[in-house]
């Protein structure tokens, strides 16, 4: 790891000012991703600004029923929180399906949103990677790409977004609160992450020095009936091959509202709006779930070693929908 200077910020303003226009300065919260990347010489900040003393650790229900989660709420505290577990079970389940208990006790909500891909070529500094070194080429496209994305890819990058939490947040239409030198603003979660396109090194719409302060989840009629299903190579403590965050509002057997978001298959947390629409005013049957799954994966592009993913993702969606909508005909 390269040397760096370190300061601990006391307020949001101090933290933002400490970063300022210095593109070689970074925030550090729980550190579970940035410390790892610094050890591998992938992140090489000259200065770290420790934000763990900031007052961003609350989970509060707002007067309009929305729930606001401070950026420094740890993954474990968020998963265990009664309001989250009762109102948004898919979020608790997604968090508990990610990492290990030790890491969940360290990793924060804000950091989880910013975690970087686990593409092995991104981590291997001896190989080309457009995300790590723009213009150097992508080793995964013609390499060993079993874990890689099948949706949202480009000819520059096929790295998968690794987060489970973000899959649930995209299904829940979350809003990201950020603060920067020019004040505060909000970003719809679905607009927060960028597709790789020609610039895979640019992963989100945050501007220089902006600090994530909170994540807001709108109150909804469907989120209570929701779940998260993750399929992986071993039963626990592994990144997703495929995953699905789903929610259904069902009245007299008919679906009035649906949410489907996918993990393990997209270059960003993948919301499947067209598949959701295909379920509206339909009966909650396996046949209809199956049709929706086909819609969700219709644009999938596979590579040499991940041709199994579209079918696995479809089965994941169907199984997840059956868990909350019943196993009917």
């Amino acid at each position: 790891m390269y040397p760096f200077t370190y300061i601990k910020a006391k307020t949001n303003k101090d933290a933002i000012a400490a970063i300022g226009s210095n593109t070689n300065a970074k925030f550090i919260g729980g550190g579970t991703n940035i410390v790892d990347l610094m050890k591998m010489n992938i992140e090489k900040p000259h200065q770290l600004v420790d934000i763990t003393s900031l007052d961003l650790k609350k989970i509060e229900t707002l007067s309009n029923g929305n729930v606001k989660i401070g950026a420094l709420v740890r993954n474990s505290d968020l998963a265990y929180h009664k309001t989250i577990a009762e109102k948004f079970p898919m979020l608790s389940k997604a968090l508990l399906a990610g990492a290990s208990a030790q890491l969940r006790n360290m990793a924060t909500a804000g950091g989880n949103i910013l975690q970087r891909t686990r593409c092995y070529y991104f981590y291997d500094t001896a190989t080309p990677c457009n995300k790590r070194e723009p213009g150097s080429g992508c080793s995964a496209i013609k390499g060993y790409n079993r874990m890689h994305a099948i949706l949202g890819t480009s000819d520059k990058c096929i790295a998968t977004h690794p987060s489970d939490m973000c899959v649930a947040l995209s299904a829940l239409d979350a809003i990201v609160h950020v603060e920067g030198i020019n004040g505060e603003r909000t970003i719809n979660f679905l607009d927060f992450h960028l597709l790789p396109g020609d610039t895979p090194e640019k992963e989100n719409v945050l501007q220089q020095g902006e600090l994530i302060t909170a994540i807001e989840i709108p109150s909804s009629s469907f989120a209570k009936n929701s779940t998260y299903l993750k399929v992986r190579d071993r039963a626990s403590y592994e990144f997703a091959l495929t995953s699905a965050a789903v929610a259904l509002d069902i009245h007299n057997g008919t679906i009035s509202n649906a949410r489907i978001a996918l993990g393990g298959v997209g270059t960003k947390p993948w919301r499947a709006k067209e598949a959701e629409q295909s379920l509206i005013n339909k009966k909650a049957t396996t046949e209809n779930f199956s049709a929706a799954a086909n819609v969700a994966l219709k644009d999938a592009v596979t590579y040499k070693y991940n041709a199994f993913k579209p079918q696995l993702a479809k089965q994941t969606i169907i199984s997840a929908l059956q868990m909350i909508g019943g196993n009917n005909g």
């Binding site: 370190y6 474990s76 009762e86 508990l96 399906a97 290990s100 030790q102």
Partner: protein, 195 residues
């Protein structure tokens, strides 16, 4: 208090910070670079080598320690972030020379072979039992909003998945945790383990 400063012989690269860490009830004053992980501070600068370095990337759990009673991976974090916290390592689990019930149960049930992962397993399981008692769900709990779970083998395996054992002593580890959880009297060890 015997503090080893830079036993590796590495020269600090200019920027060091004074740092006071509270570990197993004792205060340790250091002057280290911010890039030193909590794990390296424990092992290389303080000399508490009970905590082990396995993968050094948060995948194996050998470095697990307790911070204010909660388990974390000490390899994935910087020591400078832990001033003011109470850190417990495997050296701090016994009280007055008496092993904790969990440590004793690991011996009774052969919860290890080579022993390299054991400090991490012990710290992790110590905190895991508290999490369970406090009603915190896991990925295999039937209802995340309920506080009623069975302390089953399935729950233990899921909750301990952040600690790998390359010797494969998992059967003994799970039995030891079950026994420590239920506070059963540790009498004669299971015959089958000594055949």
């Amino acid at each position: 208090m015997n503090i080893k400063q830079n036993p590796s012989g590495l020269q600090a690269n200019g920027f060091t910070l004074p740092l006071s860490l509270s570990i197993n009830g004792k205060q340790y004053d250091l002057n280290i670079e911010p890039r030193v992980s909590l794990l390296d501070a424990l092992r290389e600068y303080i000399g508490l080598t009970g905590t082990k370095k396995g993968c050094n990337q948060g995948a194996c759990g050998a470095c697990t320690v307790l911070v204010d009673g909660e388990r974390i991976n000490s390899c994935m974090t910087l020591a400078v972030q832990y001033q003011g916290k109470e850190i417990t390592t495997v050296e701090g689990l016994a009280e007055d020379g008496n092993l904790s019930a969990l440590q004793q149960a690991f011996i009774e049930h052969d919860g290890f072979q080579c022993g390299y992962c054991t400090p991490g397993q012990l710290c992790s399981a110590t905190a895991m039992i508290e999490e369970f008692k406090n009603g915190m769900p896991s990925a295999v709990s039937p209802d995340v909003a309920s506080e009623e779970f069975e302390f089953s083998e399935k729950e233990i395996k899921e909750r301990m998945s952040g600690n790998l054992c390359r010797c494969g002593a998992y059967v003994g580890i799970v039995e030891a945790i079950q026994e420590a959880f239920s506070n059963k009297e540790t009498t004669v060890a299971h015959e089958t383990f000594y055949l």
